[in-house]
Symmetry: C2
Subunit: 459 residues, 2 copies
């Protein structure tokens, strides 16, 4: 039963399991105590820190362990912002950061700080020049992920780090998705990561802060972990995290090359096997194991359910799969189709057979969903009017786009269809539909209720 | 090799180990995902929450899991203080709370809040009436531990909870030391605990907030755990924590009765076997497994080292064993001797043989330390002066008290010895010495350098 959502959480690596079990016996005591159980725990902790620091590419005394990647991000962002308060209150982040970074940014805004979002191209990548232009005076901190968690696009971290260094702004790199594949290149100042993304256990994040970065931990004081991560540490998990990071790094290049072939196959085949599909994310500068595509006229939640029934676990950035009924902020920032979105992230060891099986199941799953939604080939009807307006109020994704696809044949080439919708996803998916189907998107206009999206038929 | 510091961290309970290993296979996925691995994780999480809530005595939707007891305390204190900001900024805590509570209180003060410390008796217990008197208008929150972590004294939580309810103030109970022995009685509002104190794994704290308590989580938003504990959860550890809590509760009464006999033996025997020793903490209302005593004329760190060499792992609240070279704030608040302090906290399953072996080793270890410090029976010398002043500047605990003991024979009955010391511990240990040796402590006076402590010889 293939699990293809390693970008959410990876199954435990065998080395992590082994290290965890061994350190349950050796590493339960308080490493701050001087008796033998404490000294033994201290030795384990020191060794884990050395190993993790080596993998990160920093000094051991620059690295602390936190309870999660989210804690590392929250602590890192708040610590630098407070440490550089005198410089100013401006925080620069890319528009496609992980929610933990964006939530830390929102908390900063709520405390009176300012946040600048650097936009991304349709590939999901920031342009280094755009990022550099955002580094205005008063910028206390800049944040950029090493690679995007939803579409796999690798960010130009080294270039942005150089611009940050030139501007005297520390750069925090969220390396959660990439650290298992290799160290982050470039002159970063702060780095965060999460062990359960590389096959380590849950309960461990990494926070590295380069010497010389002004850092002022927030919240109640605590002696542990250089005052940067309060609470009794989770030593068995820390040991397992460090051991598994070392293990996955040992064959990272070979495994990346292998998975890249499988992901390439998905990228190539999915557009041939499934009509009206868009593969999103950068085609070249990307994570080796992750591919994301979106299917027109498909309800993401139903598609995930169908794939789950067929034995495949994947995730989605479609609005219908989110608790807030909004599409992924990443897809939105990229301006790409969000309906019928599927993210496939292959765990290490995924076989070609598993990927082939997925590609066999996928077309039928998509077709089944479309059939249930009543999407058929639009009959070549004679146009009925120069312009048509559809009332799609109350309809949820993907219905407004399905209605649009049905209506486009009712106007002549050059005619317009206007879709009135109160589903905010339509603002993303109607333009994306136009791009995919070769029609012209003329824009959106607010109405008393909903928004009117107008499309010109081009062929 | 007996480990007698379970109040710091308990070795992993076999049930915790078993549950942890089982849930490494079943519980690594994101419980928020809808595919089968996510649903399986969600079932485990829900079951763990039900089990833990039942042990705590709350509803499952009142309980969240945090990465540690410290996180639970920090989140609980900050959340109630923010939720009740309109009521006022006063926080009431006992003087002997765990450092996580006191650090949260310091952070509150640093943000402009006020903190009232409720004093304790020499037993370490607060008087409910004192606590009630501190609940002035404008009190947003009151905190009281269920039992003290250093001396084992059980606090009058139910009485204080009634007073808090009458005053309309929510009571946060830090139940870290007692939850494995039984639920906290009384009408508490918020409860915190830590799994590794009862034999659960590290990496899990509990935070229960009764419905109706105004609670506003601080820090960046996060959907997980009702918005009260950010970051990807540590599900295998959570499952192990809940399973082991249920397991230790099953035989808690029997095991408590058994350990109480062993602790009683230590309490009785230690004062007979070791000269000049003071057992501290309430003799009756106390945790079943914990006993603390202090030895005059002994350096705590050296004593711990000697006991460790003999195979016994214990901890100490002496100043010389702390990184800040200050004595435990608990011993200080109790006004009891802090030098040569030893805390013995027995893990479940401790045998009478292990306790007997400790009692065999202890007198020699103490005598050895005293010998090395040059403490011998004071020769009965003729008094040399009515009053003597000792310059003990620069000497560290236990030396000032040793000098005092040597000098008391050099004045006649009714004469005085004044010790000039710049070791702040002397303020605690000189009066304690007087109480133990039957002399009169006349008080302290600031000098340009150091403090002068004066003692009248009574016999």
């Amino acid at each position: 039963m293939p699990y293809f959502d390693t970008a959410s959480a990876a199954p435990l690596h065998p080395v992590a399991r082994q290290a965890l079990q061994a350190s349950l016996d050796e590493g339960w005591a308080d490493p701050a105590r001087l008796y033998r159980e404490g000294r033994r725990a201290r030795l384990l902790l020191d060794a884990a820190r050395e190993a993790a620091a080596e993998a990160v590419g920093c000094r051991a005394d620059e690295l602390v362990f936190t309870p999660s990647g989210t804690h590392a991000v929250h602590t890192g962002v708040a610590g630098v912002l407070a440490g550089r308060r005198r410089v100013g209150g401006r925080l620069v982040v890319s528009a496609v950061e992980h929610s933990s970074v964006l939530q830390a940014a929102q908390a900063h805004e709520a405390r009176g700080g300012t946040v600048a979002l650097v936009p991304v191209a349709a590939s999901g990548a920031v342009a280094a020049a755009d990022y550099g232009a955002a580094l205005l005076p008063g910028t206390a901190l800049a944040c950029l992920q090493s690679a995007n968690h939803e579409v796999g696009t690798v960010q130009p971290v080294a270039d942005v780090a150089d611009l940050c260094a030139a501007a005297g702004v520390p750069l925090l790199v969220d390396a959660a998705q990439s650290l298992g594949w290799g160290p982050v290149e470039g002159a970063w100042s702060v780095l965060t990561a999460s062990a359960h993304k590389w096959g380590g256990p849950p309960g461990v994040g990494l926070l590295a802060v380069r010497k010389g970065v002004r850092f002022s931990p927030q919240g109640p004081a605590d002696e542990r972990e250089s005052g940067r991560s309060p609470g009794f540490g989770n030593l068995p998990a820390v040991v397992a995290a460090a051991a598994s990071l070392r293990a996955v790094r040992a064959d990272a290049d070979a495994e990346a090359a292998r998975l890249r072939v499988l992901v390439d196959r998905i990228r190539r085949r999915v557009v041939r096997l499934v009509p009206d599909v868009e593969v999103v994310g950068d085609a070249d500068r990307r994570l080796p194991h992750l591919v994301t595509f979106s299917c027109l006229y498909v309800d993401g939640e139903t598609l995930l359910h169908e794939l789950d029934r067929a034995g495949f676990s994947v995730s989605s950035g479609s609005s219908c799969t989110s608790s807030t009924l909004t599409p992924s902020h990443v897809l939105r920032a990229m301006g790409v189709l969000s309906e019928g979105n599927v993210r496939v992230s292959l765990p290490r060891g995924t076989t070609a057979e598993e990927v082939n099986a997925f590609l066999e199941v996928l077309p039928g799953a998509v077709a089944g969903v479309r059939e249930r939604l009543g999407v058929a080939e639009v009959p070549a009807a004679a146009p009925v009017a120069e312009s048509v307006e559809l009332d799609a109020l109350g309809l949820r994704c993907p219905q407004p786009v399905i209605e649009l696809a049905r209506a486009i044949g009712t106007v002549p080439v050059g005619g317009t269809v206007t879709v009135l919708s109160d589903d905010e996803v339509a603002g993303l998916d109607v333009p994306a539909w136009c791009g995919m189907r070769g029609h012209a998107y003329l824009g959106a206009a607010e109405r008393p209720v909903g928004v009117a999206y107008t499309v010109r038929r081009l062929h």
